[in-house]
């Protein structure tokens, strides 16, 4: 699907939210839900940043690190990929205090979701690096580049393009997982919706708005990733047309 279509969907979703908020049975819920959406967005953005950092570090450690670092990265990936995000949230929020480490709910949410998605992301990064043809390594070796120079200048820029679509998937996964954070006392979008629904029973307006708000956020992510992809593959794509 092209970027214009995505933008049109985004604009349409925003327009529907705008139109609905002029109607009384909807407008009542908009401010509260927007507050929740802001929190959801904060957790999603910060969590995604953490996920990228962890994903890249873990992948590089597993591919090129010395043995102890390699093990550490493998342990991290397997634990955070192999247990559910919910359990991780509970652990960081309810279990760690038993060992004397107490964190606020917001940092725990960012940490748990970022680490969780970062573990998946490390496999994305690893796969993308390994998908760069061997000839690129060999040419860099023949030009006497060091390992870090090869990675930074030759391999990662090419791997980057292959990473963008799967990272887009992960960011959207992460956005949706933010619904879990209500279980550690945070009032995110999903939590506020449920709360409002319990007190007012206006199910249709509340969950219509919630659906649209999530859709706006995920469309925004998709559009940003598509733009990034287009930009990153500029040179390569231009050639393909020739």
């Amino acid at each position: 699907m092209g970027i214009p279509t995505l933008v049109a969907m985004l604009v349409a979703a925003l327009a529907v939210i705008g139109v609905l908020s002029f109607r009384e049975e909807y407008s009542l819920f908009v401010p509260g839900l927007l507050q929740g959406a802001v929190l959801t967005l904060q957790i999603a953005v910060l969590g995604s940043l953490l996920a990228v950092v962890m994903g890249v570090l873990a992948a590089l450690a597993r591919l090129y690190g010395p043995a102890p670092l390699r093990w550490l990265a493998t342990v991290y990936v397997e634990i955070f990929r192999g247990t559910s995000a919910l359990v991780q949230l509970f652990w960081l929020f309810f279990v760690l205090p038993q060992f004397g480490v107490t964190l606020d709910a917001f940092p725990v949410a960012v940490l748990a979701l970022g680490l969780n998605v970062g573990a998946y992301g490390s496999e994305v990064v690893r796969g993308a690096i390994q998908s760069v043809p061997r000839g690129q390594w060999e040419a860099s070796t023949a030009l006497n580049m060091s390992r870090p120079q090869m990675l930074r200048r030759i391999i990662l820029p090419q791997a980057f393009i292959a990473m963008i679509p799967p990272w887009g998937n992960l960011f959207i996964e992460l956005l949706k997982s933010t619904a879990l954070v209500s279980l550690i006392t945070l009032s995110d979008l999903a939590f506020r919706a449920q709360q409002m629904n319990q007190t007012t029973l206006k199910t249709v307006p509340i969950f219509t708005l919630v659906l649209l708000m999530y859709l706006v956020m995920s469309l925004a992510i998709t559009i940003v990733m598509r733009l990034l992809e287009r930009r990153a593959s500029l040179g390569l794509a231009r050639g393909r047309a020739a």
Partner: protein
């Protein structure tokens, strides 16, 4: 010093598991010498180049470059396997051109040619660009310097790859079947460039090739590889004109029939 070989393979072996690809290779290449390596596929000829470029580890023996060990280094009077710093220092004298070009697809022809001079040699960008422009001109691609590899024909890509390798000012150039991936009508332009740098540069050149005509006309010496060993070597006129070895005769007959 002048009679010291530029490259010396000293009893070098390469094995992949039970398969011996090269078996105790001894080969000296003199400064400025142009050596062609021919032979059937699987005879180990490409492995020779790849070992010299340090793309393959060797299992036995020592490779020397300008009297200095490449695969090893001296420690307390003994040769021990080289560390990366040592390899990189010696490897800098060698450049290589590949069958599949291996240009960096995310960089233009110009960027391909200045990347390593800037990042590896620490050359100033302007200086590297001037040098690259000169080399791209020499390979006849001044007009294409801002093109990406995928906008270039195979022959043009290979000429950029040659310029890119030369930009590092190697003393030894390795050519690994550099025309094998090209459409027949593009082979000539690449061979022309190789001929030219053979004339203009004081380079030692080692090439694996299937272009018998070119090997005959261009090289000072031709080595025929068979089953991991040099089966026969000599000046091209002798090796092609009057091969002594039965295997060489068979191979040349087969190639000439096909070609």
């Amino acid at each position: 010093m002048t009679d010291q070989p530029m490259v010396r393979f000293d009893n070098v072996s390469k094995r992949y598991g039970p398969l011996t690809v090269l078996d105790g290779l001894n080969l000296d290449i003199m400064r400025g010498e142009k050596v062609s390596v021919i032979g059937p596929s699987g005879s180990g000829k490409t492995t020779v180049l790849r070992m010299l470029m340090t793309l393959e580890k060797i299992n036995d023996g020592v490779i020397w470059v300008e009297g200095e060990p490449l695969t090893h280094m001296e420690r307390n009077g003994k040769l021990v396997p080289a560390d990366l710093a040592h390899v990189r220092r010696v490897r800098g004298k060698i450049g290589m051109v590949f069958q599949s070009f291996n240009l960096f697809p995310h960089m233009t022809a110009m960027q391909n040619c200045i990347e390593a001079p800037v990042t590896v040699l620490g050359m100033k960008r302007a200086e590297a660009e001037a040098r690259a422009a000169e080399l791209l001109g020499m390979v006849g691609l001044s007009q294409k310097k801002d093109h990406y590899p995928s906008q270039l024909s195979g022959g043009q890509q290979q000429r950029v790859a040659i310029a890119r390798a030369l930009a590092m000012r190697p003393k030894i150039m390795l050519f690994d079947e550099v025309t094998s991936a090209l459409d027949p009508e593009l082979v000539g332009e690449v061979l022309q460039v190789i001929r030219q740098i053979g004339r203009e540069h004081d380079l030692t050149m080692l090439m694996v090739t299937h272009q018998m005509g070119f090997a005959r006309e261009f090289s000072d010496r031709v080595c025929f590889f068979y089953q991991g060993k040099i089966c026969e070597q000599g000046p091209p006129a002798e090796l092609f004109g009057a091969p002594k070895n039965e295997r060489t005769r068979q191979f040349l007959n087969a190639v000439l029939e096909a070609g």
